[in-house]
């Protein structure tokens, strides 16, 4: 670098300082690209209020008091009135501290979010709960099928079932006895399909599902566990 070049640099530095001084005096406004300040406060201040208590009473099979208790719990965790997926996953993970319940929570979220708008409102929440806790066995089985059918096309494929199975096993965490084997989910899926898939076409339809479940004592009995949850 020769002297002239350095002098040029020096002059440029002086010019820059001069500009800064002018800015200080307010005589020279720099070009501001966008107002990025306001963006920070653009939170989701969306507040969703559920329909009235009477309507919910009609739509679901809960009593007034039960709806009140449910809403209080709901509002406590989600003051804005709706749950988005992140929130949902976070709430659900608090019940399973040792494992990773995020995948299963996603599937649940999709099952609760019946209108697929990316958020679960109180009505969705209560509607889902009503089916599970107060519905008939068939309703419950239907709901479970809906949960398993990830792409909602009416068929449960092996891949979907594998995803579900893995997410359930994930919730157990790493420290289990006996230790979790790699093939356990796959084997579990195989046995499931063997039980459920009547015509062995590789997918399980809703009829096959309900039929197979009704034949299974264990499943029937376990469905009745939900009668007394609330």
């Amino acid at each position: 670098m020769n002297l002239e070049g350095l002098e040029m640099v020096a002059v440029l530095v002086v010019l820059a300082l001069f500009v800064k001084v002018l800015e200080q005096f307010g005589l020279f406004e720099p070009v501001s690209l966008e107002d990025s300040v306001e963006d920070e406060f653009e939170l989701s201040t969306v507040c969703h209020r559920p329909e009235g208590l009477e309507q919910l009473q009609e739509q679901t099979k809960f009593t007034r008091k039960e709806l009140q208790v449910l809403y209080r719990g709901f509002k406590n965790e989600c003051p804005s009135g709706i749950v988005n997926e992140e929130n949902f996953k976070q709430i659900y993970s608090q019940f399973f501290p040792q494992g990773d319940s995020s995948t299963y929570a996603t599937f649940l979220f999709n099952a609760f979010d019946t209108n697929h708008d990316g958020s679960v409102s109180f009505e969705d929440f209560v509607a889902g709960l009503s089916v599970i806790l107060r519905g008939t066995i068939d309703d419950r089985l239907n709901w479970a099928f809906n949960l398993y059918d990830l792409n909602k096309d009416g068929f449960i494929t092996k891949e979907e079932m594998l995803d579900i199975m893995k997410s359930i096993y994930d919730m157990m965490g790493k420290y289990t006895y006996p230790a979790l084997r790699e093939e356990a989910p796959r084997e579990h899926v195989e046995s499931f399909f063997q039980k459920m898939d009547r015509n062995k076409d590789g997918v399980v339809t809703i009829e096959e599902f309900i039929e197979s479940c009704q034949k299974d004592e264990n499943i029937m009995r376990s469905m009745q566990l939900f009668d007394n949850v609330i």
Binding site: R72, E77, Q94, F107, A111, I168, S222
Partner: protein, 655 residues
């Protein structure tokens, strides 16, 4: 699990429907909700302020007071609410914890009050949320330091005779104020440090000329004198170091400590010089070693607290200093490079290389500006001015951090000293207040004695006293009276007019007391001859019977030191002095609360004999020699006969 999501448990249980169809094994039975109560509102009345919440909210944390059945103890049947006689402000935080799952610590709250409340409600302070946890921890640490300071200062005041010689020496070294010898030693070493430093300085001053027209420094002119002085100083320092080394509780740790390293570095040059005498080869190194003699000045840090604080501050600001150094280095290199290249072209430029420019950069950035190196080209001058401007900024940045650290540590120290000074005054005031209240018992007792049957007394002075006796007081007095009856001993009263007593109490020395007799009500009016022997413990006999018989009484004892010291610190604030009441003839007795309290509980009442001497039977023989070893202090009151209801010693404290 956070509190809020407890409400979502039904949802989580419902979501388990997804597992049912794929499960291979049958599910376990669900827990039955036996008392399926509808959720109800609970009213919590805390000192008049009513809080209401759902029952299930409280049951979220079943291991706390409010969440468990423990709150039933506070249930008020009449008003159907739970009443807590506690602080409503803190309760607000506690209740919010149940509601939101987060415990907050309000800044305005005192840390110990808050801790007490949390302990009452059974909540662990570790649950405090992250937003408030730092503040809580800081306050807690300050409080703990304060407590430690208090404990330390108390421990310092106690005389612990059970220290070994080595430990006493160490204590003397660390706290020169404990004994005169230590103080003398402290000042002597301080003096010699000063002498040594001055010697080193004066050594180099040119004083006078020697024939030959050469100016000699004083060190060479009076070499012998200086050598002797140096030797003396080093002797003292060596002895001091060795003594410290001997007395240190952990020699290894002592050797590694900063002060000991400074000591060693201060005296090593002398010994090395002795060893190497006048060997020409290493005399250069020898001269260098003399430089280390200046480290003796650091020995002053033992004598000056300010120096210690400064050193501690610098240590605690190590990261800021490191940052300062790093940023300075970066800037120096940058500017040195730029200046070098800027000045390269100019003739006879002093900027011969980049390292040579370092000197210019440092001098400019610290705004020294010696002027020995000056840029001549325009570019050089421009960059030079930028350099000096940025230098000011870079140096000024970390300085406030260091200053604030120093200020904080300094004030902490000041606070500790102030606290210690105030504490003495505070304790004295508290003691006066307590003696006032303890006198009430004795007064009322006297009244009771004189007019045992009558509730209301006619005499004017008694009216004044009975008026002020509340139900609680009278119950308290009754309790003390029962104790007296159980043991057959009785309380002595402190006479606030006799300051001798209080001073002896303060020194935790034995107390010179005048014993007066006050036994049972019947016998209170009578005078009894009693024999008293100073060597109490040897007399088992001499008792005054509880109710009728009288005989000699013995007073007693010097108490054992060990239990005494244990309670010494409590002595001032809450002590019980029970002393065997004695006949008027003087005896000096020593009592320590502790011993009395212990002895009192022993079944002394054998038949009708009560030894007021605590020693009486089962006293350990160890007491005797200890008692004997202390010369009874002579006090003006000890030789006078005291009327039966005399005023005496010390204290009755709150039970």
């Amino acid at each position: 699990m956070a509190a809020g999501v407890a409400a979502w448990l039904p949802f989580a249980r419902a979501a388990a429907i997804g597992w049912m169809p794929v499960a291979n094994c049958p599910m376990p039975l669900a827990p039955a909700d036996k008392n399926k109560r509808q959720d109800e509102l609970i009213i919590l009345n805390v000192s008049g302020r009513r809080f209401q919440t759902w029952r299930t909210t409280l049951e979220r944390y079943p291991d706390t007071l409010l969440g468990s059945t423990e709150k039933e103890f506070f249930f008020n049947e009449d008003t159907k609410e739970y009443f807590f006689d506690r602080d409503p402000e803190v309760f607000r935080c506690v209740l919010n914890f149940y509601r939101t799952g987060k415990l907050h610590y309000p800044r305005y709250e005192c840390i110990s009050a808050y801790d007490d409340e949390l302990a009452f409600y059974g909540i662990l302070p570790e649950i405090i949320g992250d937003c408030c946890y730092e503040e809580y921890k800081d306050r807690k640490r300050e409080n703990a330091e304060r407590l430690m300071d208090d404990n330390d200062s108390e421990n310092n005041q106690e005389s612990l005779p059970s220290l070994s010689f080595r430990q006493t020496m160490w204590r003397a070294f660390e706290n020169p104020h404990t004994s005169t010898l230590a103080l003398v030693f402290y000042y002597v070493t301080g003096f010699f440090i000063a002498v040594s430093v001055i010697t080193n300085v004066v050594e180099t001053v040119p004083c006078g000329t020697v024939p030959g027209n050469k100016e000699l420094p004083c060190g060479e002119r009076y070499a012998v004198a200086f050598f002797c002085l140096d030797t003396a100083c080093v002797m003292i320092f060596t002895v001091e170091y060795l003594l410290r080394l001997f007395a240190a509780p952990s020699r290894y740790r002592f050797i590694r400590s900063v002060m000991s390293i400074i000591d060693v570095v201060a005296i090593m040059p002398y010994y090395i010089g002795l060893v190497m005498t006048n060997n020409e080869d290493v005399s250069g190194a020898f001269v260098t070693l003399r430089v280390f003699r200046v480290f003796r000045i650091f020995k002053f840090s033992r004598h000056s607290q300010g120096l210690r604080i400064l050193g501690y501050t610098l240590k605690s600001c190590a990261s800021e200093l490191g940052f300062l150094l790093f940023s300075l280095t970066m800037a120096i290199i940058i500017f040195a490079t730029v200046m070098f290249y800027a000045e390269k072209g100019s003739s006879a430029s002093k900027f011969t290389s980049i390292p040579a420019s370092f000197w210019y950069t440092i001098v400019t950035m610290t705004t020294l500006g010696y002027g020995d190196m000056v840029p001549k080209t325009i570019a050089g001058k421009i960059f030079g001015s930028i350099c000096s401007l940025s230098g000011v900024l870079v140096i000024a940045l970390p300085v406030p951090v260091i200053v604030s650290n120093f200020s904080r540590i300094y004030h902490q120290n000041q606070r500790a000293d102030k606290r210690r000074a105030q504490k003495k005054a505070r304790l004295a005031r508290i003691r006066v207040a307590k003696t006032g209240s303890s006198n009430a018992y004795l007064h009322s007792k006297r009244n009771g004695l004189l007019n045992e049957a009558l509730e209301l007394t006619g005499s004017p002075e008694d009216e004044h006293l009975t008026k002020t006796t509340s139900l609680i007081e009278s119950q308290h007095h009754h309790l003390l009276h029962c104790l007296e009856k159980t043991t057959g001993l009785s309380y002595l009263v402190d006479d606030p007019l006799l300051s001798v007593r209080t001073s002896t109490i303060k020194n935790h020395e034995f107390i010179d007391e005048q014993m007066f007799e006050q036994n049972c009500m019947e016998s209170s009016m009578q005078n009894y001859p009693s024999t008293r022997s100073p060597s109490l413990s040897s007399h088992p006999g001499l008792t005054t019977s509880c109710c009728s018989r009288r005989s000699k009484k013995t007073t007693h004892l010097p108490n054992s030191n060990l239990p005494a010291t244990r309670l010494r610190s409590m002595q001032e604030l809450s002590t019980i002095h029970i002393q065997g009441s004695e006949q008027p003839s003087l005896t000096t007795s020593r009592s320590s609360l502790n011993l009395k309290a212990d002895d009192v509980l022993r079944p002394n009442c054998k038949g009708s004999q009560i030894t007021t001497a605590i020693i009486s039977i089962p006293t350990p023989p160890a007491l005797t020699p200890e008692g004997e070893s202390r010369p009874p202090p002579s006090s003006p009151g000890s030789t006078t006969n005291i009327p039966p209801i005399g005023s005496n010693i010390v204290k009755v404290s709150a039970l």
